[in-house]
C-alpha cells in the first residue's frame, strides 16, 4: 500500500487544484497502480489549468500512472460547434469510427449543428449544406447558438 500513498501524494497538488477550482463529481481512485481522476470542470480554462498542473508534476505525462478524464460540464445542451482542426477540413463519417466511410467534410472554423453528442469521442453533426454524420469530438468546440 506504500505505492498507493506515494501515487496519491505525487498528484496531491493536482487533486487539490481540482477541488479548489470547483471540479464537480470529483473522483480520485486508484486501481492496479494507476490513479484515475474523473470529474466535471466548470470551464475549459479550469480543464487546461489541470492539464498544466499534471504536466508539471509528471513532465510530458510520460510515467503513464495517471488517467485524467475531466470534461467541461455542459451547462446547456450543445447545439452548435466550431470546427477546430489545426488547418484541415474535418471528416464527416457514416458512423462513429475512423473505419467508417467519409460522407462529407466540414471546413476549418466552420460552425456546424450538433445533432447529438453520441459519445465522448464522436458527435453527430450537420453542416450548413445539410451533410450529416459523425465527427471526432476533439476537433469540435462548443459554440453559443448563432443568432440568425
Amino acid at each position: 500500500m506504500s505505492t498507493s500513498l506515494s501515487l496519491q501524494e505525487k498528484y496531491q497538488e493536482l487533486t487539490t487544484a481540482a477541488t479548489i477550482s470547483g471540479v464537480a463529481n470529483l473522483q480520485v481512485r486508484e486501481q492496479e497502480g494507476i490513479l484515475y481522476i474523473d470529474g466535471e470542470a466548470p470551464s475549459g480554462a479550469v480543464k487546461d489549468m489541470l492539464w498544466g498542473v499534471y504536466d508539471k508534476l509528471d513532465p510530458n505525462f510520460l510515467t503513464g500512472d495517471l488517467v485524467m478524464n475531466v470534461n467541461v460540464s455542459a451547462t446547456a445542451p450543445v447545439t452548435h460547434a466550431k470546427v477546430t482542426t489545426e488547418h484541415s477540413n474535418l471528416n464527416i463519417r457514416k458512423g462513429p469510427g475512423t473505419d467508417q466511410p467519409i460522407v462529407g467534410k466540414a471546413a476549418h472554423h466552420e460552425i456546424v449543428t450538433v445533432v447529438s453528442q453520441t459519445s465522448e469521442q464522436w458527435w453527430l453533426i450537420r453542416t450548413k449544406d445539410g451533410e450529416e454524420g459523425y465527427s471526432y469530438a476533439q476537433y469540435l468546440t462548443p459554440e453559443a447558438t448563432p443568432e440568425s
Binding site: I34, N60, F61, G64, V67, M68, N69, T98, D99, Q138
Partner: protein, 163 residues
C-alpha cells in the same frame, strides 16, 4: 460437538426468553451484537460491515455501497431490540473506475485518436496502451487527453519521444 452446540442453543433460547420475559432487564451487549450481525448478514445492502456493542451503544463500521446504504444500515440497527444508540462509522466505497479492458474497443479508440499522428505506433499489452515513436509536445497533450477518455488500464510510454 453436537451436545455442545445443543447446549449453546439452549442457553441462547434461555437468554432470549429471559430478555423477553423481563422487559426491564438490559439485553446483554453480546446478544445485541449477535442480533445485529444476523440482521446485517441477512440484509443484501450491507456488504462488509462490522459491529461492536458497548452498553447498548452499537458502533457499525465497514464499507457501504453508497450513502443510502449507509443510512439504511444505521436505521436497521437502530430498530434492533436493546440498541440505545448507533454510531455510524461506515464509509462509502468509492466506485471503482470503469476500465476499458476490451482490446477491441480500445483498439478502435486508439485508431481514431492516432489517425492523424503517423509518427506514433500503438499496441495494447494487458489493457495498457503502449506507444512508440515521436510526437510534438502540443499534439501529445491533445492526444493524451483523448486517450484518457478511453479509460485504459494505464500506459507504457517508454518508447515515446516528445519533441
Amino acid at each position: 460437538m453436537k451436545k455442545l452446540s445443543t447446549s449453546i442453543l439452549l442457553m441462547g433460547i434461555l437468554a432470549l426468553t429471559i430478555s423477553f420475559t423481563s422487559c426491564k432487564k438490559k439485553a446483554k451487549d453480546a446478544d445485541i451484537k449477535a442480533a445485529i450481525e444476523t440482521a446485517l448478514k441477512a440484509d443484501p445492502m450491507s456488504v462488509n460491515t462490522m459491529v461492536s456493542v458497548d452498553k447498548g451503544v452499537a458502533t457499525i463500521s465497514g464499507e457501504c455501497k453508497d450513502e443510502a446504504c449507509k443510512m439504511h444500515c444505521a436505521d436497521m440497527v437502530k430498530g434492533i431490540k436493546g440498541v440505545k444508540e448507533v454510531v455510524n462509522n461506515c464509509t462509502v466505497a468509492a466506485p471503482m473506475p470503469v476500465i476499458n479492458a476490451e482490446d477491441e474497443a480500445l483498439t478502435k479508440g486508439l485508431n481514431d485518436a492516432l489517425k492523424d499522428q503517423p509518427g506514433v505506433k500503438f499496441s495494447i499489452n494487458e489493457g495498457k496502451i503502449v506507444l512508440t515513436g515521436e510526437i510534438a509536445k502540443a499534439k501529445w497533450a491533445a492526444v493524451k487527453q483523448m486517450l484518457d477518455k478511453l479509460k485504459p488500464k494505464g500506459y507504457d510510454l517508454t518508447g515515446l519521444t516528445i519533441k
